[in-house]
């Protein structure tokens, strides 16, 4: 059994340890005897529908975001949307999350178009939200990460947030929402890296991939005691530094 993890724009968009998410997915597959292949898909590389099982898209610098926004328009963005409609799981963080919405509006210059997978728009803000973030998700329970962004994301009426902010700022610092959910796709502002300390989320993505590729709906449990301890300590830190 094998899963292909597709890392979108990994060479140009990989900040704040986002590669930890890819490592988490790959290792949690391997520890269960599932072969995991990591494929980087960069600028100009076509996205073949059906070739990959899990998508990850991390954050980047503003400068990179311009090229990436242009690259993901057209066939590539359409293919990615079709994959998600087909049930493919995806995690996006920060810059990747923003470009999965309708657009990113910088302080000056033209809007960077996204692909509109999420009913969300992002505008550059004046304040940078930096700090530990704790989110309460109906689906995944308590999630913890580290946010570092000035973009303000507002969800449209059709969009479902990933969860409610308990500590931190989240999508825009005002409405108490964090991230976005659509089918098996997740967008959020949580670095950390997110998945290693939130193994439930990691396993949600792997399980969705197995279901889609192998019609398999079981996932053997792993010993997550180190992850659970790290999760609790990060939450404790977030509460203490609030």
């Amino acid at each position: 059994m094998k899963l292909s993890i597709c890392w979108l724009y990994g060479s140009s968009m990989n900040i704040y340890g986002d590669r930890g998410n890819v490592l988490s997915l790959a290792q949690r597959c391997r520890w269960r005897g599932i072969e995991a292949e990591i494929v980087q898909l960069g600028l100009g590389d076509p996205l073949d529908q059906g070739a990959h099982d899990i998508y990850f898209w991390g954050g980047g610098q503003d400068r990179e975001q311009i090229n990436v926004s242009a690259d993901v328009q057209g066939a590539k963005g359409d293919a990615l949307k079709a994959e998600i409609e087909d049930g493919a799981p995806l995690l996006s963080v920060c810059g990747g999350y923003q470009l999965l919405g309708h657009y990113y509006r910088p302080a000056d210059g033209a809007d960077l178009p996204g692909i509109g997978l999420f009913d969300a728009t992002t505008t550059a803000g004046n304040e940078r939200f930096i700090g530990n973030i704790v989110v309460e998700s109906r689906e995944f329970g308590e999630l913890v990460g580290f946010e570092n962004h000035s973009g303000l994301t507002h969800l449209g009426s059709n969009a479902e947030p990933l969860g409610k902010v308990r500590v931190g700022r989240g999508n825009n610092g005002v409405d108490g929402t964090e991230g976005c959910r659509y089918r098996n796709a997740i967008g959020c502002y949580m670095h950390g890296a997110l998945l290693p300390k939130n193994p439930k989320l990691s396993d949600f993505l792997i399980r969705a991939a197995l279901r889609r590729r192998y019609s398999l709906d079981v996932l053997p449990a792993l010993d997550d005691s180190l992850e659970t301890t790290a999760h609790a300590s990060a939450v404790g830190r977030a509460l203490a530094r609030r």
């Binding site: 930890g20 930096i130 950390g192 180190l226 992850e227 830190r237």
Partner: protein, 468 residues
């Protein structure tokens, strides 16, 4: 076939053995393959080092001292490379005769012709006389002689005596470049046939009030009376005089002044030599690195390299391993290395991985402002290079649990990962896991380093802040 180009079969066989066994050992993944090939090469051709070094056109520079020799020889090698010389250098830090032999074999043709114009050779203190005898150096660079805290009492004097005997064999065309701030080095390099020049610091800032606790009282090597320091810069290095016999720090040929320390980041200084002034701005921290830079610059100037090129190279020099401190505590040697960013952490882990990491390690991760509040950077560190070892790795600090997870996802077996409580409550526990006489590594972030240093000071232990 002329005599000069005739193949020296035994030398070629020694070189081949050195090269091949080095490769085989690297392929087997056992350590860095640095010393063992030299051992085999020396068995086949006992004079391999003498023969290979003799063929280096512009001569050999031997760098010796308890601390800083790796940094200093890297600095000097960098300068000479910038001056368009091909430099042979035992970079891997393998500094016994066989390690140096291996480095030369690796950097020679199969017939035994070294691929270099000049050699910078870092030597172990005990091996130093043998190295000098074999390589016939053009310049000997002497940095310092510290009493290693694990050394049995008196070993330093034995080394100083052996070095003195070695110096007495030198010829007038050989140059000793000596740290004049070290009274032991100044004393054992007096009245020789070889030339001697001295470097040191002439500065009234950054003075210590008294000799650090780790330093034994400095005695005059001529008459045995205690030395009096008018200025003390670091450990036992300073401006000294013996009130009993008049022995004093000799006049400096290369004098550093206007030293400016910028925390853990950088240091700048002004180096005066003859009529010329050299302003150095280093991107590595500490007085210890100022000494290393003065030594490297002095040697380069003595070799005729231009001041501008020296300043430029030293300004671009980056420490390979970051900040390293060694302390002896409860009969164990603790090696403490600051980790503060992915690049530095990577280098430290590479150093541990190359050594095979057989000793326990403790990684202490804090997330206070000075450390960076975001610990995401741990995921940008190449922790995977530790996965092949078998030694236990302990984690502590405010975000020690994050580090434990990072280790796990790097493929390190969970049996090797041991999360500990806060440093104050777990430090002794970590020390207990190290066998007496053994060593352990501690890798703290900045504020964890400060906490560790406070704890050690409270226990009466003072570290020498030197990079090894």
């Amino acid at each position: 076939m002329s005599a000069s180009s005739r193949l020296d079969v035994r030398l070629a066989a020694g070189v081949a053995a050195g090269k091949l066994s080095g490769r085989a050992i690297r392929l087997l993944g056992r350590g860095g393959g640095t010393a063992a090939p030299g051992l085999i090469a020396n068995l086949i051709e006992p004079n391999i080092l003498n023969k290979l070094t003799g063929k280096v056109r512009d001569g050999r520079i031997v760098v010796a001292g308890t601390n800083g020799k790796t940094t200093t020889s890297r600095m000097l090698a960098d300068i000479l490379e910038r001056a368009d010389l091909r430099v042979i250098h035992n970079r891997s830090g393998s500094n016994l005769v066989r390690g140096i032999s291996a480095a030369f074999a690796a950097q020679s043709s199969w017939s035994g012709q070294p691929r270099g114009d000049i050699a910078v050779i870092e030597s172990d203190e005990a091996a130093f006389p043998d190295v000098v005898r074999r390589v016939n150096p053009r310049i000997i660079l002497l940095l310092n002689l510290f009493r290693d805290q694990l050394d049995r009492y008196g070993e330093l004097d034995t080394i100083a005596t052996r070095w003195r005997e070695s110096f007495e064999t030198l010829r007038p065309d050989q140059l000793l470049l000596v740290n004049g701030d070290d009274p032991a080095l100044a004393a054992i390099t007096e009245d020789l046939a070889a030339q001697r020049r001295l470097f040191g610091i002439q500065e009234s800032r950054y003075l210590l009030d008294e000799l650090p606790h780790a330093v034994d009282s400095a005695l005059c090597r001529r008459c045995g009376a205690p030395l009096r320091y008018s200025q003390l810069f670091l450990s036992h290095l300073g401006e000294y005089v013996c009130d009993s016999c008049g022995f004093r720090r000799p006049p400096l040929d290369f004098a550093a002044s206007d030293i400016d320390l910028h925390g853990l980041d950088s240091v700048s200084l002004r180096l005066a030599h003859d009529e010329s002034i050299l302003d150095l701005s280093l991107a590595i921290p500490g007085l210890y690195n100022a000494y290393n830079a003065i030594a490297a610059a002095g040697a380069a100037l003595a070799l005729g390299v231009g001041p501008a090129l020296i300043a430029e190279t030293l300004g671009a020099f980056r420490s390979a391993f970051g900040r390293i401190e060694r302390v002896s505590y409860r009969g164990r040697q603790l090696v403490i290395v600051l980790v503060k960013n992915p690049v530095g952490f990577d280098e430290v882990l590479r150093m541990l991985a190359v050594g095979g990491l057989s000793d326990p390690a403790l990684i202490v991760i804090n997330d206070l402002d000075a450390d960076g509040r975001d610990v995401s950077w741990l995921w940008d560190v190449n922790v995977e290079q530790l996965a092949n070892g078998s030694s236990p790795i302990y984690t502590s600090g405010i975000r020690g649990a994050d580090m434990a997870v990072r280790l796990k996802y790097a493929g390190i077996a969970t049996e090797r990962i041991h999360p500990l409580k806060a440093l104050a409550n777990s430090f002794e526990q970590f020390v207990d896991t190290i066998p007496e006489g053994g060593s352990g590594y501690i890798l703290p972030t900045y504020t964890a380093m400060l906490e560790l240093r406070r704890m050690l000071a409270h226990r009466g232990v003072v570290a020498d802040f030197w990079e090894q």
